[in-house]
């Protein structure tokens, strides 16, 4: 048996602790403005070929089961984007630390 099949059929890598049997929570809501900005930001990063859809998705999965279970959809997106931009050397941890502190200060918050 050739090993080619193993390479061609990668395992599903969904994060978290498995599937769900729960009832679907059917409801409608509008996105918060920051969620829409986050969506647009990732789209633009895709257009610039900095972060593509598949990288972004993987980034939302490999954050460990606790975060995968507790963060909301766009919270995972922005964490994924932040990790990918660090890995790719586009941003540095120091730059993010300084900027987030500065942004928090505008709102009289301390991170």
């Amino acid at each position: 048996m050739s090993t080619e099949n193993l390479v061609k059929h990668l395992p599903n890598d969904i994060g978290g602790t498995g599937s769900s049997d729960d009832k679907i929570h059917i409801f409608e809501r509008d996105l918060y403005p920051w969620e829409k900005r986050c969506h647009a930001l990732l789209d633009v990063l895709d257009y610039h070929k900095i972060v593509n859809t598949e990288e972004k998705r993987r980034g939302t999965e490999n954050i460990g089961s606790e975060m995968a279970g507790k963060l909301s959809y766009y919270e995972k997106w922005i964490v994924s984007a932040s990790n990918l931009l660090l890995q790719k050397g586009v941003l540095t941890p120091d730059e993010i630390a300084v900027k987030t502190a500065e942004v928090a200060k505008r709102y009289n918050l301390v991170l």
């Binding site: 599937s19 769900s20 049997d21 679907i24 986050c38 998705r57 959809y73 586009v90």
Partner: protein
């Protein structure tokens, strides 16, 4: 989905600087927005850093928000109704979803492949993205939260008829249900059956029947709604 403890009225791109408001000087500074969450601060920070480095321009984000806002299920409904009324368009739509959308002036801005799944009296389709949230955004807008939920993603492939029943959609046993999983590059839309009793409806009346959920496949167009 966790609750987000902030105000949905926080301004858009470039509009979230309280000091930018030019109010009378004798007031204490007025903070118009509730405190942003850690994740919103991260979003603002990354966007500003990328802008400062010249990697992105703020107008690109604004423009993309406009693109997102310009997309809704009304576009998909126009394609469905045109297919109902025009057999030649129907075959072009089923053959090449991208070309059929572009033909109606709807750009597939995310460079994905759009495949249209044609329901027949014997076959009903429903779409899902088991991996995450892939969805035909250019023609339907952004997906609802439930489409992205673990419950919908897990169960639709395992027990589609039970999932459809939760949406109030009962598919007769003799009708085959086909679940189509989406990917980062391959997106799908369901072309529902035109309901009986709509022979005298005009295009506008028909479009009103073609809701988002009928194009995801969790509902059927109905004149009784």
């Amino acid at each position: 989905m966790s609750e987000n403890a902030h105000n949905p009225h926080t301004g858009r791109d470039g509009d979230n600087h309280p000091e930018g408001h030019d109010h009378a000087e004798e007031h204490e500074p007025i903070i118009h927005e509730a405190a942003p969450s850690y994740y919103e601060i991260l979003e603002i920070s990354i966007r500003e850093l990328l802008t400062e480095k010249g990697i992105l321009r703020p107008e690109e984000i604004r423009r993309q928000i406009e693109v997102l806002d310009s997309r809704s299920p009304a576009l998909g409904a126009k394609m469905v109704v045109k297919a109902w009324l025009d057999p030649a368009y129907r075959s072009r739509l089923v053959q090449n979803g991208n070309a059929a959308a572009e033909e109606m002036g709807i750009s597939i801005y995310d460079n994905t492949k759009l495949t249209v799944l044609e329901n027949t009296p014997g076959v009903h389709h429903v779409i899902v993205c088991t991996l995450c949230s892939c969805y035909p955004r250019p023609i339907l807008g952004l997906p609802p939260d439930w489409y992205k939920s673990k419950e919908y993603r897990s169960r639709t492939v395992r027990e589609p008829r039970a999932v459809l029943a939760e949406f109030g959609t009962l598919i007769p046993e003799e009708v085959q249900v086909i679940v189509q999983d989406s990917t980062a590059s391959e997106r799908y839309m369901v072309l529902p059956l035109r309901p009986a009793g709509t022979e005298n409806f005009n295009a506008e009346e028909l479009e009103a029947l073609v809701t988002r959920d009928t194009m995801i496949g969790v509902a059927l167009p109905s004149i009784s709604n």
